[in-house]
């Protein structure tokens, strides 16, 4: 048991480190380091602009999407080399935010199901950051039950005509392409009538509208489709096979390792170390210590769980299921920590401005944003189902709509 690189890993790390040192946008280092809890605050730059510049430089240096095959813009790197790269890329990795969905989900799906022409046309430009991709899966009435989606694609000659609405699409407003799952046959049970496509987001009939979120911010979009034409050549997988194609996409999402999820623990530790309560520092209060210690132990547990996954990759093994707990644990912890930090602030905790007492409102912002952590990318409940069914081998839920044609399933709500 050790934390050392193998000689090959050490050599790879040295190469990566040297390249990052020579090429990274050092002028952004301070701001990126300060950006915590998944929020990137750059005073004078747009994240997409600086992100594209960094991605392009990485591509030229052969470090973009490095685990992809060389012919599609990657480096042919192993999973452990990708992890090492992410460690060495460090805070500059935050600049890759606009490309993560493309790299982690859309690209792998195109790679698995696209034609050779499509792979050579789209993947290198995705890798270089020249073209940004988004993922169009969720709908107002198809969230956890994504197979219940309503957006229709109808065959007209060699093309498909799409009508419907998607929601919770990150980055749709700056994306060039989208990965779209749509219903092509409403007369068969819901999982069987779906087909996967990709489309140009500038196509006529595509309308992107930002969503004003519960936390007051606008990070996601609704996307409306009105008679949008998609050529059949942009279909991924067979007609009616969209569900199994989407499982490849989602599996890739869950395989993404090394992107450390924010837990709020370092921020909370720092806060408690400096906050004066009536009887002294918060961190000297037994009740505070007890909660803080439990959170710290959980947060350490997540870190060392990811180390176990990395170790499996290093040995060329498939990682075990332990990595599936990350978002479930960190999402709940963020919300709990935010609530408790404000409790410690007492009456001033209600203030969301840049007050000294409330540490610039960072926990208030965390409180308002944290519900999304427990919903996006699989709700806590769906994640528990996944653990129960795929890890523990418990039976799936009884699905009353399993063998019912889609158009006979009762629907309500959004």
């Amino acid at each position: 048991m050790n934390f050392d690189d193998t000689p090959q890993e050490a050599a790879f790390r040295a190469t990566a480190r040297k390249w990052v040192e020579a090429n990274a946008p050092k002028e952004l280092h301070a701001e990126l380091s300060k950006s915590s809890l998944g929020r990137i605050r750059l005073a004078h730059h747009d994240i997409v602009d600086v992100g594209k510049a960094w991605q392009k430089r990485k591509f030229e240096g052969n470090w973009a999407c490095l685990h992809w095959p060389k012919e599609y813009g990657g480096r042919g790197a192993t999973p452990i080399e990708k992890v090492i790269w992410q460690q060495e890329e460090g805070v500059y990795g935050k600049l890759t935010q606009p490309f993560q969905i493309g790299e982690g989900m859309c690209g792998p799906t195109v790679m698995a199901f696209g034609s050779e022409d499509a792979k050579r046309r789209y993947l290198p430009k995705l890798a270089s950051g020249e073209e940004i991709w988004c993922q169009l899966f969720s709908e107002p009435s198809a969230g956890s039950d994504v197979a219940g989606l309503r957006t229709r694609a109808e065959k007209k000659g060699d093309d498909w005509v799409v009508n419907g609405q998607k929601i919770w699409t990150s980055g749709a407003h700056y994306s060039d392409y989208g990965l779209l799952i749509a219903r092509t046959d409403p007369n068969v049970p819901k999982h069987k009538g779906l087909t996967m496509f990709f489309l140009d987001m500038k196509s006529p009939g595509v309308e992107v509208r930002p969503i004003k979120q519960a936390n007051g911010m606008q990070e996601f979009n609704e996307v409306y489709f009105t008679d949008v034409v998609i050529p059949d050549s942009q279909r991924l997988g067979a007609v009616g096979e969209g569900w199994s194609v989407s499982l490849t996409t989602l599996m890739n999402e869950r395989m993404s390792i090394g992107s450390r999820l924010a837990t709020g623990v370092p921020e909370m530790f720092e806060f408690c170390s400096n906050l004066m309560l009536e009887d002294g520092l918060a961190i000297d209060d037994p009740a505070v210590r007890s909660k803080l210690a439990s959170w710290a132990a959980k947060s350490n547990g997540l870190k060392f769980t990811s180390y176990r996954t990395i170790s499996a990759l290093s040995k060329g093994e498939r990682p075990g299921p332990e990595n599936s707990i990350g978002k479930l644990v960190s999402g709940m912890m963020l919300q709990d920590i935010a609530t408790y930090a404000m409790d410690l602030q007492g009456a001033a905790g209600v203030l969301t401005g840049n007050d000294e007492e409330t540490v610039q409102g960072q926990f208030q912002q965390m409180l308002l944003s944290s519900p999304s952590m427990r919903i996006a990318g699989g709700t806590d409940e769906i994640l528990r189902n996944i653990i129960a069914e795929r890890v523990l081998g418990l039976p799936g839920d009884i699905r009353v709509d399993k063998d019912v044609p889609y158009n006979k399933i009762p629907t309500k709500g959004r």
Binding site: M1, A296, N300, R308, I310, A312, I325, R384, A388, L394
Partner: protein, 375 residues
């Protein structure tokens, strides 16, 4: 990075699991649970023959000289099997105390006897309620003569010797505490068994009356040695707790697959699935924290104090959580004496207190994190 046990260590774990499945069935555990024997002597003998008791004891003192990572994988299996033997008191507490502070003669006398299964040892630290703290040590030592009462002392009724924490000064500092080694079969020692949450591991009271004792380690170094013993034992106990958590989770999962109610397997209800998924989450966090503890223990790393406290907290919470919910998944049957669920519930809650309570270790973790941040 190789944050995992080696193939040899995993093989040892499999070997221990197989051995314990054969020699330490729930039926065998129940002999001790029902008070028909103070511990499983046959199993203890078998553990010695397998080389498990001395796995981390150097060869020159009669052990296998393998190391603490090997001891960790065995500990996990001891927890999984709920073994009714004085393994933790003898191997994690007494043997570790001797390895840290024993003179050559003391090591020669006791370590080979531990490895061969001839001697059972324990640590006499607590004096009634309270957590580990120098101020809670009142038993006095003057000129090597002990007077006072220790309780609860794990496995004291069957132990041959004890490491005893005693007060040798009154300055109010850590240096007031010294450790002694006492032959419990000698004069001036009276041992009385006490009933406790987990009858598969006994607890007792020891009264020392003008009992002659030899010092273990330098005078006034007792507290610093004790802290090291407790940290090391915290990691080893965490592995037992991880093994127990996994077993409780498996029992719950198996029952949820087997039991039919409302015309379906109860494991198909989300209320049950989610409870089991949460148990898996706790057990996984505990395992990962314990691995870090194992690394720190085996390399004697500067990170050991923090790693041990985090492992202790995580593993205590996981075992309590899994043992509690295992009963819940079982419903009414889980509350019968006949089903094994309560054995893990008892063990989980007894272990949560053995080296100091959860809140004590939470306190320790914060102190140690602050120390690291300040450095």
């Amino acid at each position: 990075m190789n944050f995992d046990f080696s193939d040899d260590q995993k093989q040892l774990r499999d070997q221990a699991r197989k051995f314990l499945a054969e020699k330490c069935s729930p039926k065998a555990v129940r002999v001790v649970l029902d008070g028909k024997a103070p511990y499983d002597k046959e199993l203890w003998k078998g553990l010695a023959e397998m080389g498990f008791l001395g796995v981390a004891i150097p060869e020159e003192f009669g052990g296998a000289g393998a190391g603490h990572l090997e001891l960790c994988v065995i500990a996990e299996e001891m927890g999984r099997a709920n073994a009714p033997v004085p393994f933790s008191s003898t191997v994690y507490l007494a043997a570790e105390a001797l390895l840290i502070a024993g003179s050559d003669a003391q090591k020669k006398k006791w370590l080979p006897a531990i490895a061969s299964g001839e001697a059972i040892g324990t640590l006499a630290l607590f004096e009634g309620k309270g957590n580990p703290a120098p101020k809670n040590v009142k038993l006095s030592a003057a000129n090597g003569v002990l007077n006072g009462v220790k309780k609860p002392v794990p496995d004291a009724a069957i132990a041959d010797f004890a490491v005893v924490a005693a007060r040798t000064g009154s300055s109010g500092r850590d240096g007031d505490i010294s450790l002694f080694l006492v032959d419990l079969k000698g004069a001036g020692v009276a041992v009385k068994s006490l009933t406790n949450l987990d009858p598969t591991r006994g607890q007792a009271e020891i009264t020392f009356s003008d009992c002659k004792a030899e010092p273990l380690g330098a005078a006034g170094e007792g507290w610093s040695i004790l802290t090291q013993i407790l940290d090391r034992a915290a990691v080893l106990c965490a592995f037992e707790q991880v093994g127990g958590s996994d077993r409780a989770l498996e029992m719950g999962r198996d029952y949820a697959l087997d039991r039919i109610a409302f015309g379906r397997q109860i494991g198909s209800f989300q209320a049950v699935k989610h409870m089991l998924a949460d148990m898996y989450v706790s057990a996984t966090l505990a395992r990962s924290n314990s691995y870090y503890g194992a690394w720190a223990l085996s390399t004697n790393a500067a990170e050991l104090p923090e790693a041990a406290a985090a492992a202790r907290i995580s593993a205590t919470q996981a075992f309590q959580h899994c043992a509690k919910n295992n009963i819940q998944v079982h419903g009414g049957m889980g509350f019968t004496w006949e089903f094994d669920c309560h054995m893990y519930y008892r063990r989980a809650n007894a272990m949560a207190l053995g080296l100091g309570s959860l809140s004590y270790w939470e306190d320790q973790l914060i102190d140690r994190m602050r120390k690291k941040n300040a450095a």
